[in-house]
């Protein structure tokens, strides 16, 4: 596991990078897939792993599925702790985060 309480793989870095593009924004799994091109079989375990570690929090999209005509999405966003940890991760690879 190393220095962090989450296993940092290349795919995990790409997921974090997607969130760091807009640290206060909320992204669904499909949004992260579009920006990181990570397959669903890898993406969702990473999202749950980051959420379990407290780097991400999630909530249901506030829509009425019946009126919207589609299921509500699960939206994830970085926590303050997650933002700090992601910054440490990228800084350790020589890339600073200013957010």
């Amino acid at each position: 596991m190393g220095r962090w309480d989450v296993r940092i793989s290349f795919q995990t870095l790409k997921v974090l990078e997607a969130f760091l593009e807009n640290p206060t924004g909320e992204l669904s799994g499909a949004d992260v897939h579009k920006s990181s091109a990570i397959a669903s079989g890898t993406l969702y375990p990473i999202l749950l792993r980051l959420e379990s570690a407290g780097w991400l929090v999630s909530r249901w999209e506030a829509i009425d599925p019946a009126s919207a005509g589609r299921p509500r999405r699960r939206l994830y966003r970085l926590t303050r702790n997650g933002l700090a940890r992601a910054g440490e991760v990228f800084a350790s690879f020589g890339r600073g985060v200013t957010a």
């Binding site: 296993r7 669904s28 799994g29 499909a30 397959a39 079989g41 570690a53 589609r70 699960r74």
Partner: protein, 289 residues
């Protein structure tokens, strides 16, 4: 669902729902709703199927991680596991292996159908060197014999002196007939015709394009001599035939296809520099280096 694609979409939805139901009970409903919502962002049957298969795999990974939290994440994992309760077993080993075999078959079929593997199969292990063996221009043919001409032969015989004489009246004297001197007909002037055999010319197809992949894999090489009949414009006037086999039916067939495809790109044979219709053999060398 905003899009329905018939039975195929039913398969995709079924896969996602099955995967979600196999997830830990506390996550099952959430994952199903989340995945069905995210499925809307995938267009195309193949992308949706890949997404659904990924969800099945994600279920397996999630259950595995929650079942055995290790290292520094143990506390977080244990907290989550406590929240989730007992973890339901996922796909059985037999089902997983069968699914993987099925997926591999689909990938191989798709790969072959789309020609992805053709590049790998057709790349020879070693560089290929192919060249033509064009017969050297033949030296000027010896002049043909002159056209046969009937020469009237008259044997030279001594001229008889016919003299009939009688002793008496009515003596008859036959005048001597002088035979004409024999003459030989003058031979026509002999003309030398310079003939040059033709061969593959500019724009002739590349032999490498006709090297059978099976022959490359089997390291078959050789020279096939093909006889072609070409008119003055370099076009075939008859189907090419094998003049001498290379010993490989594959290479011979490829040489015939090449010779057929080269129609219009042959150098015609010439007589005194004038293109003429003629038949001639030429060699096609299939060689791997």
């Amino acid at each position: 669902m905003s899009q329905k694609h018939g039975w195929f979409d039913g398969v995709v939805l079924g896969l996602i729902q099955h995967a979600a139901h196999k997830a830990p009970p506390a996550l099952s409903a959430r994952l199903e709703e989340e995945w069905l919502a995210d499925l809307e962002g995938h267009r195309g049957g193949f992308a949706r199927l890949r997404f659904a298969l990924g969800c099945a795999w994600a279920t397996r990974v999630i259950a595995h991680e929650l079942a055995a939290p290790v290292g520094a994440a143990a506390s977080a994992g244990a907290r989550t596991a406590t929240l989730l309760g007992p973890i339901a077993p996922l796909l059985s080993r037999r089902t997983t292996v069968a699914a993987l075999i099925g997926v591999l078959h689909v990938l191989v079929i798709v790969g072959l159908a789309s020609g992805i593997a053709s590049g790998v199969l057709q790349v020879p292990a070693t560089p290929m060197h192919i060249d033509f063996i064009v017969r050297a221009a033949r030296p000027a043919a010896p002049p043909p014999p002159p056209d046969p001409t009937l020469v009237q032969f008259r044997p030279h015989l001594p001229t008889p002196q016919w003299t009939a004489a009688t002793t008496g009246e009515g003596a008859i004297t036959v005048p001597t007939a002088q035979a004409p001197a024999p003459t030989a007909a003058a031979a026509p002037p002999q003309k030398q015709v310079v003939r040059l055999s033709g061969g593959p010319g500019r724009g002739f197809p590349n032999t490498a394009d006709y090297y059978p992949p099976a022959a490359i894999r089997l390291d078959e090489k050789g020279i096939t001599s093909v006889r072609v009949c070409v008119d003055g414009a370099g076009r075939l006037t008859a189907d090419p035939v094998i003049a001498q086999s290379s010993g490989s039916a594959r290479l011979d067939a490829a040489a015939l296809r090449l010779a057929q495809a080269g129609s219009g790109h042959y150098l015609p044979s010439t007589e005194d520099g004038r293109p003429v219709s003629a038949c001639y053999p030429f060699g096609v060398r299939f060689e791997l280096k």
